[in-house]
Amino acid sequence: MTDPTHHSTPAPDDDAVRQIVDALTAPATPEELADEPRYVTMFTALAAPPPAPSRRRLRGRFVLAGAAAALAVTGTAAAVTGMIGRTTTPSERPPTTSAPPPKTSVPPASRVSSTPPSVHSSADPAGTPTPMGRPTTSPPAAPVPSATPGGSATSPSTPSRSLQPSPSPTPTPSSEKHPPVSALRASCGAYLEGELEEDGKKYRELVEAAGGADHVREYCEALVVSRSHS
């Protein structure tokens, strides 16, 4: 690179630039590495599998599941017999159980509540906190750039590294619906240049892929940076 504003004096300062670059890239000092044990401890804690649920908790979940099943069966039976919401006395019971259900007395949603969502979610281990106190399913703050190993890092424009896109670092319930990475990358490019409408479909796709609107920028930056290393 040449800079027309700078010419002339040959350079005792060549050494200065070299010294600066060398100093800024010098080997790590002991102070910079002093926290290694703390970080390794942090890593170990995060890498450890979440604690297995205790027998009491398991038993509690079985009880909840059983109660849910009972409620579902009861609810279904009640729906069939048309007895929901009514005080039943022996005199009110229909003479036989083969009576046809009333056509409009029970809303459809009440008839098929075999697995209440609350029971389902409470038994889901996905929300189990990690030893660091964060849910295991919380997405990383930044997406994962995806470039195949072994490529050269010297030039972003050199197509020596191929990409194996993996825009979503952790699986999310909606990750299967993401558009192709190439489309996400294009949307990211537009987003980073301020040319993506935030009420449009492409932006919504980015939000979904990034795991939230707060993460879109870092997601896009990392995705684009990973591309530039390809």
Binding site: H6, S8, T9, A11, A16, V40, A141, A142, P145, V225
Partner: protein, 201 residues
């Protein structure tokens, strides 16, 4: 700063599998440049920001795919965003880095300049870097310390690659003049490119 080179992929894979020894190796190779970069953009808060950065990186580690420069760039992006989220990025100019610029600022005599060059260590170079306007300092840090290419830096900071390249070059010229105590305009065009190329080859 140490690099893992060809061993990076194996170390990364082991770390992603939960091998704490591999993680330690990965950390030793990549934490120092991250910390230096963070010191440039957030000063005293660098350690805190680095902790939060690594916490996020650890969670994303199993699904990271890329080479060593990509990894350093990825860490830096996370760190930059953490700094911004914590409101520290806005502070820009770190107090401690401004505290003691004398050893390099007031060098005027050739002998003194030589001594300054001989004494220049990482700490002093970071202080010298802090004498630049914050935006310039960050660009130099991303280019020299983290080792990103101008095009990559451009995407991160929202400028074009040419502007990044020119700004980094001029910033290094300024630093060289400050360090050497020279009042004249000097030609370090070739030197800046050579130095950066030599560093990142």
């Amino acid at each position: 700063v140490g690099e893992l080179g060809e061993r990076f992929q194996a170390v990364l894979a082991d770390a992603a599998d939960g091998d704490s020894g591999a993680f330690a190796e990965l950390w030793r190779a990549t934490h120092p440049p991250l910390l230096r970069y963070l010191r440039v953009i957030v000063g005293d808060a660098a350690e805190d920001v680095a902790s939060e950065t690594w916490l996020k990186a650890m969670r994303g580690l199993p699904s990271f795919v890329g080479d060593e420069p990509s990894f350093r760039g990825w860490l830096s992006v996370i760190g930059r965003n953490v700094a911004r989220d914590l409101g520290r990025y806005a502070a820009r100019r770190p107090e401690t880095l401004l505290a003691d610029p004398e050893p390099v600022r007031h060098v005027t005599a050739p002998d003194a300049a030589d001594q300054a060059l001989e004494r220049l260590g990482t700490e002093r170079a970071l202080r010298l870097l802090a004498t630049l306007p914050p935006a310039q300092a960050e660009l130099v840090a991303l280019r020299v310390i983290v080792g990103l290419e101008p095009a990559e830096i451009a995407l991160i900071v929202g400028r074009n690659a040419g502007a990044v390249r020119v700004t980094v070059h001029r910033a290094l010229v300024t630093l060289a003049r400050t360090l050497a105590g020279a009042g004249d305009v000097v030609d370090v065009t070739t030197t800046t490119e050579e130095a950066l190329t030599r560093r990142h080859d």
